[in-house]
């Protein structure tokens, strides 16, 4: 197991370098000069030159590339150009909003796996029943609708137009992370306020991912319950609940763990759109704002971070695979 961890971690390093390279060249080769993008048309050439120098844009491409790689390694992505964060290091700008994204993404991912697995297992134990068909319809729906559409719909249903739909106001905030004046609340009050704001974006992301996960778990469990060891578990006198939830689920979740790697990019792109819809001040929101504000260093740093997150997510999925399946663990020494 230790050598598996070691080997997988080693292979992640060239991948990360690849991501850094790709991000750099994709943005450098894109048309447009960041300096002219940033300053209004007609700015004097001296001002533009000075800006280019301060951004290091006057260096040759390769020099800039190695500076960038070095920056990636040390976490130094330059300073922000937008008036909002002017001169603040990109790292600090990102670290300022990252906790919000981690909170949203972490809660959604956790809930999606719990809800998705439970629904999938429930369906597998009632294969072919009416409730199975109904749930299959629901999971297919959430699996196929665009996440931003679902976000807008849920926002209408539970917040903006709640009164028209339900006859009484169902109030979940459809924007922001905290109520005005939340700072003056007690710690618990602040936590509740945060959870209240988290509800809609988290619900959207959870539903979108749980749909796919439930479908996957259902298929996987239907395969598992036909296996001989399930019959053995029943024959030794275990109650059905433990046959399914211990002997079945532990095996049924093995392929689902690989989903974890696949869902990481979906989760990240999902957060970008959903943070935007719900004005949740996280990484996604920052990226969209930075693109609009032509804050080139923040876009570069943020994109690298997203890429790195995908690589790390896949690494985690690989390692988890070894944790849940002893056969994999052994096959790799």
């Amino acid at each position: 197991m230790r050598s598996l961890v070691f080997r997988r971690t080693l292979t992640a390093i060239p991948l990360l370098l690849g991501v850094a390279t790709l991000v750099f060249f994709a943005l450098s080769l894109a048309p447009g000069d960041p300096a002219t993008l940033f300053y209004p048309i007609g700015a004097s050439p001296e001002v533009l030159d000075q800006l280019r120098r301060s951004l290091g844009l006057d260096d040759p491409l390769l020099v800039r590339y190695f500076k960038w790689l070095l920056g990636c390694l040390t976490g130094d992505f330059g300073v922000s150009l937008s008036p909002r964060y002017y001169q603040l290091p990109v790292r600090d700008v990102i670290l300022g909003v990252l906790p919000n994204t981690l909170l949203l993404a972490g809660c959604s991912l956790f809930l999606a796996f719990v809800v998705g697995s439970l629904v999938g297992v429930f369906q597998a134990t009632r294969q072919g029943s009416l409730i199975d068909s109904v749930l299959s319809g629901c999971t297919l729906f959430f699996y196929s609708v665009p996440s931003f559409w679902l976000a807008v719909m849920l926002g209408m249903f539970f917040s903006v137009k709640a009164e028209a739909f339900w006859g009484w106001p169902v109030f979940f905030p459809a924007s922001g992370v905290a109520s005005p004046g939340a700072d003056s609340l007690s710690t618990w009050g602040q936590v509740l306020d945060r959870a209240h704001h988290l509800f809609l974006p988290c619900l959207t992301l959870t539903l979108v991912m749980a749909g796919g996960i439930a479908r996957y778990v259902r298929t996987s469990m239907l395969e598992v319950v036909r296996q001989d060891y399930i019959r053995t578990a029943r024959a030794k006198g275990l109650p059905e609940s433990r046959v399914i939830l211990k002997h079945g689920l532990r095996n049924g979740l093995i392929p689902v763990v690989t989903l974890f790697g696949a869902y990481f990019p979906i989760l990240l792109s999902g957060t970008v759109l959903i943070e935007y819809v719900f004005t949740w001040p996280g990484m996604g929101r920052l990226m969209v704002d930075s693109v609009l504000a032509r804050d080139y260093p923040v876009v570069l740093g943020g994109t690298f971070l997203f890429g790195a997150a995908v690589v790390v997510g896949n690494l985690l999925a690989d390692l988890l695979y070894g944790v849940v399946d002893p056969r994999i663990r052994d096959a790799h020494g």
Partner: protein, 341 residues
């Protein structure tokens, strides 16, 4: 009181092609500490018979048809509640399966899997539970059990896994062990070791044993009595030595024919042509008639009953003990008495 008394057991499965009448009116008796072998070709309903005893047919206990009776020490198991059934499974009647490679859960250590059975059927917990696992694994011949219990099934050979299955079966101190083709998936050399282990354990613990095999030779080495199953029905039963000495049913003779020693070749017995029909459409009349070399017209239209034979031939040599009981067969060639009921 007998240990196991099965009367008119019928287990029918709904399958895409109709209703598979896979077990269709089976009678079987097994005394305390007795050994009965069930033989028949693949598809004759042996596995389903065994699973029915534990209330575990593939689609649930409802597949056991009303009117079936399975009595364990006098207690009716058909229709008994789930809770009692779970106590019986593993605690009174334990089962080992044909495929040791897939019958153990790949994600739990063998120690955990044996210990689960110990926890279900005994009061041994914690340290005592662990010691019991080590004892059980040692008892079935696994070397260095306290280290091996931490290994996963894929780290064991087929024979060793079957030993683990046996240890798991013994954990609940059952009075009846059902072994469904326990050696079919194993090498011949390992086969003998596992059969010896089963036989030795059965004798030492005084358990009843229901040994299932498609191979007449395998069961005849271990069992006092034989039950020959064909197309979901018993076609012949009786003390092993007597059945082997003078098989009464053409199907039994056919099974012996596919397992001949050089000596017996002279008797010109041939293997049975064709194969077991689908359980959804058993032939009319005697279910064996399309494959039978000795068919008479009546076999086509009416099915004979399973009837007791006259007393065993005096020269059969087998000692007829109290547990061996009578001989029965289901064939028109044996006389005109059957079929009226």
């Amino acid at each position: 009181m007998s240990l196991l008394e099965i009367r008119n057991l019928r287990t029918h499965l709904a399958v895409p092609g109709g209703i598979a009448r896979a077990v269709d009116g089976v009678d079987l008796d097994l005394g305390e500490g007795g050994t009965v072998g069930v033989v028949g070709e693949s598809g004759s309903g042996k596995t389903l018979l065994a699973l029915s005893i534990l209330g575990l047919p593939p689609g649930g206990p409802d597949q056991i048809i009303d009117g079936s009776s399975i009595r364990y020490r006098g207690e009716e198991l058909v229709g008994v509640g789930n809770k009692r059934l779970r106590e019986i499974r593993g605690g009174e009647i334990a089962m080992i399966f044909q495929e040791p490679m897939t019958s153990l859960n790949p994600v739990f250590t063998v120690g955990d899997q044996v210990r689960e059975s110990v926890g279900l059927h005994t009061s041994l917990r914690g340290r005592a539970g662990k010691e019991e696992v080590v004892r059980l694994l040692g008892e079935v011949g696994i070397p260095d059990p306290s280290a091996r219990m931490r290994d996963y099934p894929h780290q064991f050979s087929g024979g060793m896994r079957q030993r683990v299955m046996i240890a798991m079966a013994l954990a609940g101190k059952p009075s009846l062990l059902i072994a469904d083709e326990p050696t079919t998936a194993l090498d011949v050399t390992i086969e003998a070791q596992i059969l010896d282990l089963i036989k030795e354990t059965q004798t030492r613990l005084g358990m009843g044993l229901l040994l299932i095999s498609h191979d007449l030779r395998t069961v005849s080495k271990v069992c006092e009595r034989l039950v020959v199953l064909y197309a979901g029905r018993v076609v012949e039963s009786g003390p092993t030595a007597e059945v082997l000495a003078s098989p009464k049913h053409p199907y039994t003779r056919g099974l012996m024919g596919s397992r001949l020693s050089m000596d017996d070749r002279r008797k010109s017995l041939r293997p049975i042509p064709g194969e077991v029909p689908e359980a959804t459409s058993w032939p009319r009349g005697c279910r064996f008639h399309p494959r039978c070399g000795e068919m008479i017209p009546r076999c086509r239209t009416r099915e004979p009953d399973l009837l007791p034979l006259e007393a065993a031939a005096p020269d059969s040599g087998g000692a007829v003990g109290p547990t061996t009981g009578v001989r029965k067969a289901r064939c028109w060639l044996l006389g005109e008495t059957g079929g009226g009921a």
